[in-house]
Amino acid sequence: MWQWFHKLGSPKWFFGIATRFMPWLLAGGLLLLAAGLTWGLAFAPEDYLQGNSYRIIFIHVPSAFLAQSIYISMAVAAVVTLVWRMKLADVFVKAIAPVGLVFTFLSLFTGAVWGKPTWGTWWVWDARLTSMLILLFLYGGVIALDRAINDEKSAARAVAVLVLVGVVNIPIIKYSVDWWNTLHQPATFKLTEKPTMPMEMWLPLLLSVLGLYLLFGWLTCIRMKTEILIREQRTRWVRELVMAGGK
């Protein structure tokens, strides 16, 4: 059993697996995302409260989900780095941190633009937006720290410590921002995703979420492959792979 676990840590093994799965992840992701977005944009009915602006939800929610899941998976990888010193875990964190940053920005942007027609203002210091903004800062910090340290191994461990400190903080941040927001929230304003969505809205949302997660899987694969190439360029298997013109 441990043999499987340690095999999981082999860059060469991962490179092969990733190459095999990538086409499926890309095809599946593009298909599901396109289906979900087209359905949501053109076919789902208008929301009786918000009109058509709610259609932004089909890109806002997947982005927000991903922004948070990516950080949590980075935290798991950080534990693996610090406890088991597995190379692949470092590669994972370095590869997906920029992706997490982009999706956090996207959820902030789409959230802000959704806010304008719906609540009349571009930005609102509500709990969710503010927590997302802080998440953006956390991602920025991780990327900045990684770039500032030259030694690969030290950078990986320092980033792992930072990610873990951040993840401990996330529930605290969420709680405090939530609480702060209940103090400062304007009386008439309430940001709700309706707790029960009609099926015609929920299904395209599901498709979009799944599609974006699959695309994220593809992105993870290719970015990790690139990072593995850089780190393992002195090994024989990489040399043979590259010289064979392989993918």
């Binding site: 800062f137 956390l138 910090g141 030694d151 410590v161 400190v165 941040i173 405090s176 609480w179």
Partner: protein
């Protein structure tokens, strides 16, 4: 075995206890800081100056200052602590003392805790003492000032502790100052929210016991967890340089 190295080498059976090692580190840091008094004065001056910027830059109206005063003071204190974190480890890092500290047989996290507490006593505590004066300048009433000082008293150690993690992570890096701020400010936000929230609640007459208890919880959490993270980060930074 012990006689060859004289007083420098202590046989393991007569090792220095962790507590006295902490005391030694604490005392040393305080003494060294007093020899370089500039480091002590700078955060205080910064604190006063930043607070002064708000009436000048925004509005000197009593109503505005009374409403925002607690927040202004808290933000200024936070920035002052952030500024002072640079010299928590760097002087020792530059002259090699830090490496000696890491090599000590006593647990590193205790020594780091001692350093951080010394740092707080030299930086955060003076801010708390200065706060009433500035509170008067921003027209806060007596009760608000008292609660404000209490929140600063509980909150500034948390800031020092969390800050020590950032300082340890960015040790020896180029542009460490800005990077440190980038890393630490998101982690400071909950402390800031509750620190100012407590004063706001007090101003409305609401009971503050709960808020203070929560801030106390932050302090306990930081006291127990931050030294470990800082110690780990120190080892990483030292192995890097």
């Amino acid at each position: 075995m012990g006689s060859a190295g004289g007083a420098l080498i202590k046989p393991v059976e007569q090792g220095v206890s962790p507590l006295s090692a902490m005391g030694a580190v604490f005392g040393r840091d305080v003494r060294v800081a007093f020899r370089q008094r500039q480091d002590l004065l700078n955060p205080l001056l910064f604190f006063v100056m930043v607070v002064s910027l708000f009436p000048l830059g925004v509005s000197p109206e009593v109503s505005f200052l009374q409403q925002s005063g607690a927040g202004i003071l808290w933000v200024a204190a936070l920035l002052a602590v952030l500024l002072s974190l640079d010299h928590l480890f760097r002087h020792d890092f530059d002259d090699g003392t830090l490496e000696q500290l890491v090599l000590q047989p006593q647990p590193l996290f205790l020594l780091v805790l001692a350093k951080t507490l010394a740092h707080w006593m030299l930086t955060g505590l003076p801010l708390v003492i200065l706060a009433p004066v500035l509170g008067v300048m921003v027209h806060l009433d007596g009760n608000s000032i008292a609660i404000l000082c209490l929140t600063l008293l509980i909150g500034t150690p948390v800031l020092s502790l969390i800050g020590s993690i950032g300082a340890a992570l960015t040790l020896g890096l180029r542009s460490a100052g800005v990077l440190l701020s980038l890393l630490i400010i998101p982690l400071y936000i909950p402390v800031l929210i509750f620190g100012t929230g407590t004063v706001a609640a007090a101003a409305e007459g609401a009971p503050v016991g709960g808020y203070l208890a929560l801030m106390g919880a932050f302090l306990v959490l930081a006291l127990t967890l931050a030294p470990f993270a800082s110690a780990a980060a120190l080892r990483i930074s030292l192995s890097n340089s």
